[in-house]
């Protein structure tokens, strides 16, 4: 598919502070691309540069094969939904939707028709006569989205559009937004600090930190094969467990020992011997009521109840290890056995926080059966 948006070595400094440094990425035609990271990572700055509200200090912004660095915002063909939605509070919803058409010289009759059609599509018909200032947050969000969609931008930019909404509303809007995007084949560039939003909506996710791009890939890639410790810890709820381990080289292969568990896995990869870290998702922590090979006994300290599943916090040395179980599996204070399913575990190199690709990291054959 063709590249709709390309960022080449994009850079922005505020004073001496580098907000974005050397960011390069491509958003393909019709793709939903999320830029995710903690606050202050430079994602909103990136968005403002693409929209034309901020001047880049270095690098190129290419939209539809055209360098737009020096174009004013209006001529870039982008649509922007602000974090605070910026609905025109003094205009009616109808006038809000018609605004972009009006400035493009669309006739009154045609405007009315287009507004009506889009309002029906987005369930806004009942709001059309209301004043922008009288809407609640989730209504504002839909109006802001519709206002931008109606002019059919080449690229739709969304700046944390869910952060002002209640959790319950957020979850239902995720699906809605994604469906609208699919139905229209709209290229979307979505900025958020919420990894759940990014995972559930995106075709691809770019993880950013400190102005730099750490990893870009499909949600599955980002979740299952993070490139470093930050991505692994940032993505996933409940978060991944990161535990100290010892790596031994054993001929062409390496062996991973976890204190208390002994040798948990073997595989092939390039990593120095010594103390490293291992990341295991709570789903891959196996909890049982009976002793199994490779499992150690532990106590349940807390339980987080998520309704459909419970997350146990299990004592391990001076830390707690999270494990996902079915509801009602154990109660607080219960003694259970825990072990690791190592097939999806990640080996994190100490010092660099890089995740080392290991061929066939597998449970130690000796302990099996």
């Amino acid at each position: 598919m063709e590249a709709k948006l390309e960022l080449k070595e994009l850079t922005k400094r505020f004073g001496t502070v580098g907000a974005v440094s050397g960011l390069s990425l491509i958003a393909r035609e019709g793709e939903f691309l999320s830029l995710v990271g903690p606050s202050g990572c430079g994602k909103s700055t990136t968005l403002a540069m693409i929209a034309g509200l901020l001047q880049a200090d270095g690098g190129d912004i290419v939209i539809d094969k055209r360098v737009v660095n020096d174009l004013p915002a209006q001529q870039r063909g982008v649509g922007l939904v602000f974090q605070d939605y910026a609905v025109f509070t003094s205009l009616s919803v109808e006038a809000n939707l018609a605004f972009g058409l009006e400035v493009r010289g669309v006739s009154r009759v045609a405007r009315k028709k287009l507004v009506k059609a889009l309002a029906e599509q987005l369930n806004l018909t009942s709001l059309l006569k209301r004043r922008g200032g009288s809407l609640n947050m989730s209504e504002m969000q839909r109006v802001a989205l519709a206002r931008v969609l109606i002019v059919e931008p080449k690229l739709l930019l969304l700046d944390e559009p869910m952060s002002n909404l209640d959790a319950s509303v957020r979850a239902s809007l995720r699906g809605e937004l994604r469906q609208i995007q699919r139905a229209r084949g709209q290229t979307v560039f979505y900025v958020t600090h919420d990894q759940a939003e990014a995972l559930s909506m995106s075709d691809r996710i770019a993880v950013m930190r400190g102005g730099k791009l750490l990893q870009i890939g499909t949600p599955e890639e980002i979740y299952q094969r993070p490139s470093n410790r930050f991505v692994a810890e940032f993505i996933g709820d409940p978060p991944i467990n990161v535990i100290a381990c010892d790596v031994r080289r054993d001929g062409g292969s390496i062996a991973v020992d976890v204190p208390g568990f002994g040798n948990v896995a073997v595989g092939r990869g390039i990593i120095d011997e010594g103390r490293h870290l291992i990341g295991v998702r709570p789903h891959d922590v196996i909890v049982g009521h009976a002793s199994t090979p490779g499992a150690i006994q532990t106590t349940v300290r807390f339980i987080e109840n998520f309704g459909a599943e419970h997350v146990l916090h299990l004592e391990y040395l001076n830390e707690l290890i999270r494990a996902t179980t079915v509801p009602g599996f154990a109660h607080v204070g219960a003694n259970v056995y825990m072990g690791f399913d190592m097939t999806h575990a990640h080996l994190i190199e100490a010092g660099t926080d890089r995740i080392v690709p290991i061929d066939a990291l597998s449970p130690n054959a000796k302990d099996r059966h």
Partner: protein, 310 residues
């Protein structure tokens, strides 16, 4: 057991006292303000009600409360008093002209100050200087400027090329102009300051959103910024309208309502009636009429202000 009962009642007493005291506490806080206002506004208003139906004049030598009741004669006379009706109409004319001029000037000036440029702060300070001049002094300055041998006439002389020594303040057709100019000169800065601050504090993202959507600057101004500015404009006009309606100082200093009664405003008319002709009953009636009109206009106008203040 008896002890216990007493204690329980004590607790109950404390609670009840609190329960009762709760409301008076906040009322006590507004009491000083409320009493001051009542002393200076409410009681005089009651007195005005009485005086307006009498023909009391201090020169009659009888105390005001023994004055002769004439019923509605004062009001009847007022409605047929051309000097009064002329003063009312003239005041409304001054209010409308001044507000319009101040608004247009202030808005155009404020738009010049939206950009950041060097010396901007100093220019703002210079432009708002007139509103800080004591009004009586400002009126005196305009008296000098518009004197027959003042700098205004001199400037006109230079332009038309011959000596021009027009008596602005002595001419019944022109005397109102210096008064209004003094008022506009003094108070455009306030309107300017209000509108400028309003403009600088508009929700930035709405303007940016309109910009990204492709709207021209004129369009952004009329369609987005102006409506957002409405509450500020209403308040600015309200403040200025109310104050201009009471216009007194420049009239008193510049013309004292003259020549004849050609520049007499409502305040000036009432002042003269009270302190030149000592017709207190008549002035009271006029004051009452004005109060009723002003209060009803303000109650009507207050709605936008109140709604905005939720």
């Amino acid at each position: 057991m008896a002890d216990e009962t007493v204690k329980m009642e004590d607790v109950d007493m404390i609670s009840r006292r609190r329960a009762k005291r709760w409301i008076p506490f906040n009322v006590a806080l507004v009491l000083p303000a409320q009493l001051t206002v009542m002393a200076v506004v409410l009681i005089p208003t009651l007195i005005i009600l009485w005086l307006s139906i009498t023909d009391w004049q201090p020169t009659q030598g009888i105390p005001w409360f023994k004055a002769y009741v004439v019923g509605l004669d004062n009001f009847r006379e007022l409605l047929h008093d051309h000097r009064f009706t002329a003063a009312v109409l003239r005041t409304l004319f001054v209010v409308i002209v001044c507000m319009a001029a101040e608004f247009v000037l202030a808005m155009s000036l404020a738009l010049l100050f939206l950009d950041e440029w060097p010396w901007r702060k100093i220019a703002v300070s210079a432009i708002i200087l007139p509103m800080m001049v004591v009004p009586v002094d400002a009126a005196n300055a305009f008296f000098m400027l518009f004197g027959d041998r003042g700098p205004i006439n001199y400037a006109i002389s230079l332009i038309i090329g011959r000596s021009f020594e027009f008596g602005w303040l002595e001419n019944p057709n022109w005397a109102l102009l210096p008064i209004m100019l003094a008022e506009i000169w003094q108070w455009t800065p306030l309107m300017f300051l209000l509108i400028l601050t309003g403009l600088m504090n508009l929700p930035e993202n709405q303007v940016r959103a309109a910009y990204v959507l492709g709207a021209s600057r004129t369009k952004i101004f009329f369609k987005i910024m102006l409506p957002l500015l409405t509450p500020v404009i209403i308040i600015a006009l309200l403040i200025r309208g109310i104050e201009t309606f009471k216009i007194f100082d420049p009239v008193y200093i510049l013309t004292h309502g003259g020549p004849g009664s050609s520049t007499e405003t409502i305040s000036m008319f009432m002042y003269d009636s009270a302190f030149e002709f000592f017709r207190m009953g008549y002035v009271a009636a006029a004051g009452l009429l004005v109060l009723v009109v002003v209060v009803s206009i303000c109650v009507a106008l207050a709605r936008p202000l109140r709604e905005h203040h939720r």
